[in-house]
Amino acid sequence: MLDQSEGYITEDGRKIGGVVMEMKNITLRFGGVVAIKDISFDIRQGEIRAIIGPNGAGKSSMLNVISGFYVPQEGEVLYHGKKRPQMRPYEVARQGIARTFQNIALFEGMTVLDNVMTGRLNHMKTGMAAQALWKGKAEREEVENREVVERVIDFLEIQNIRKTPVARLPYGLKKRVELARALAAEPSLLLLDEPMAGMNVEEKEDMSRFILDVNDEFGTTIALIEHDMGVVMDLSDRVVVMDYGKKIGDGTPDEVRNNQDVIDAYLGVAHD
């Protein structure tokens, strides 16, 4: 494995920077069940980092630790080199970490546009009265936020459904709207929890393309969890493999593919 302390160059020639987020000896227990056992890894500027593993390996738990939904009993989370104190999920979001959910968590009663606009909430600074009365600074801010949102909507090709209530959309499009909302926050780290779960082949291809484009176009750092091995190997720069709450592999897709532990635990079963 190459020395990555100063970043590295990917196979397709992208420059990966320093560490954005570092997980140090994370242990998470639910009562007597150990969901995550002493796991360390890092996520670097501009890379697509995957977390894979069989069902119940603790992948989603790990994502929930990063986004503040779960609080680990042991270990440290370092964000931009600084130890992160215990935080609520909304505080983590305000630090520039956006996420999507495995089972889609959208505001079903609102339109696509309104949903994506909620992604901008943390970028709105003007007071309540000014916003209600629609004056000066508030108006400029609203226009700026709308521009970002429209750019994201164009980028993800959902212009034609922007006024549609989310509840009426099919599953695949809902996933895309959720991604749009996360992107609208212009996050410094984007967490995707099984972005392709339950999709057909065509939808998976679309979603893969969007993830690569987001990374390419905006330079967004992405950490994702995915079941579909083919997709993971194509998309990601580096992969963490988990099994029964432990880390059993970490490296480029090729390194992981040839790791005997990984083959035993996961790939071997799936691909032999």
């Binding site: 999920p89 959910f101 609102m110 909430l121 709105m124």
Partner: protein, 328 residues
């Protein structure tokens, strides 16, 4: 025009205005229910408490004076000032915000993710607590509330209708003002929820907690905000009812009249609360007018509940509520 019809029209108008007051109370329920899924049984007592506090502050009463005098053997009752209504209202809003914060910090925060019935029970406890607290703070006597709104028959309407139909309509000035204030209140709530950051966050929390957290919304902040707004709505309702019939315990029972309104309008719809309130207000007045004499009167006591029962049977989600779909 025949007298009966004219009288009917007058009853109709009065029904509309009574309905506005029902709608105001129901609105407080809807706000909290939408944002946190809590059916706040204490909404009526909040209206009573707000009105008592307003009277207490305006008249310069010493809070807990009975308790203080009993413990220290002193004899303090009044600070000796009389505050204008505006100052009193501003201070009372402050008290209601503080109350909202306390309710969230001491009760609701610790009951997150509990069954709705538990949250409901908590609000019943809150209702009795606040009832006692109100009496302890300001005394249990019937208080007169006068915030300077005009009261009594509106001469202009009386004159105009008399000239036109030869029959003067009796419309109370207070009812007219209540209607205007309710319209302004609802309009500002709509603007707030559609066009402000906090309003958008509030709608987001009402829709999905997890998603709201993930875009950086603090649930606690929104809950305090929602209870504060509900407290403010309770204050407005308390002022209107208090000015009409004095600030006394029975004021908290108007909450019971809000129940049929909610059955009609649906628990999750602000327009529903308003339309439901108007239908109940008009319905019970017109029913009393048309059918009442045949059955010996006093139909206003039960009409709203029977109407609500019919709705429960034929349209359980109410007029505007979200449709109940059970997926199998």
């Amino acid at each position: 025009m025949p007298d009966q019809l004219l009288f009917g029209m007058e009853v109709f108008l009065n029904g509309l205005m009574a309905g506005v007051l029902y709608a105001l109370v129901a609105l407080g329920f809807v706000l909290i229910y939408k944002a946190s899924g809590i059916f706040n049984y204490a909404q009526g007592v909040m209206a009573l408490f707000a009105a008592m506090t307003l009277v207490g502050i305006m008249e310069g009463r010493v809070p807990f004076s009975h308790l203080i005098n009993a413990v220290f053997g002193s004899n303090v009752h009044h600070f000796g000032w009389h505050l204008p209504a505006v100052v009193g209202i501003v201070l009372t809003v402050g008290v209601m915000v503080l109350l909202a914060w306390l309710v969230n910090a001491l009760i609701m925060k610790h009951l997150v993710n509990q069954e709705p019935i538990i949250l409901f029970m908590a609000t019943i406890g809150l209702a009795y607590f606040m009832e006692g607290l109100g009496d302890l703070m300001w005394g249990a006597d019937i208080k007169k509330l006068d915030v300077g709104l005009p009261q009594g028959i509106n001469g202009t309407i009386d004159q105009i209708t008399f000239d036109a139909f030869g029959y003067g309509f009796f419309i109370d000035n207070l009812d007219i003002w209540a209607t205007i204030i309710a319209i302004v209140l609802v309009a500002s709530l709509m603007v707030f929820s559609q066009y402000t950051k906090q309003g958008r966050a509030l709608r987001a929390v009402a829709d999905d907690h997890q998603a709201a957290l993930s875009v950086g919304i603090s649930l606690n902040f929104i809950w305090v905000l929602v209870w504060s707004i509900a407290g403010f709505v309770a204050l407005v309702a308390g002022i209107m009812w208090g000015a009409k019939s004095g600030v006394q315990f029975s004021l908290s029972l108007i909450a019971l009249k809000a129940l049929p309104v909610l059955m009609l309008g649906g628990f999750t719809s602000i327009p529903g609360a308003i339309v439901g309130g108007l239908i109940i207000g008009v319905g019970e007045k017109m029913f009393e007018f048309a059918i009442g004499p045949m059955v010996g009167g006093a139909t206003e006591n039960w009409f709203a509940y029977v109407l609500a029962l019919l709705f429960l049977v034929f349209r359980p989600q109410g007029l505007f509520g979200e449709k109940i779909i059970e997926r199998v």
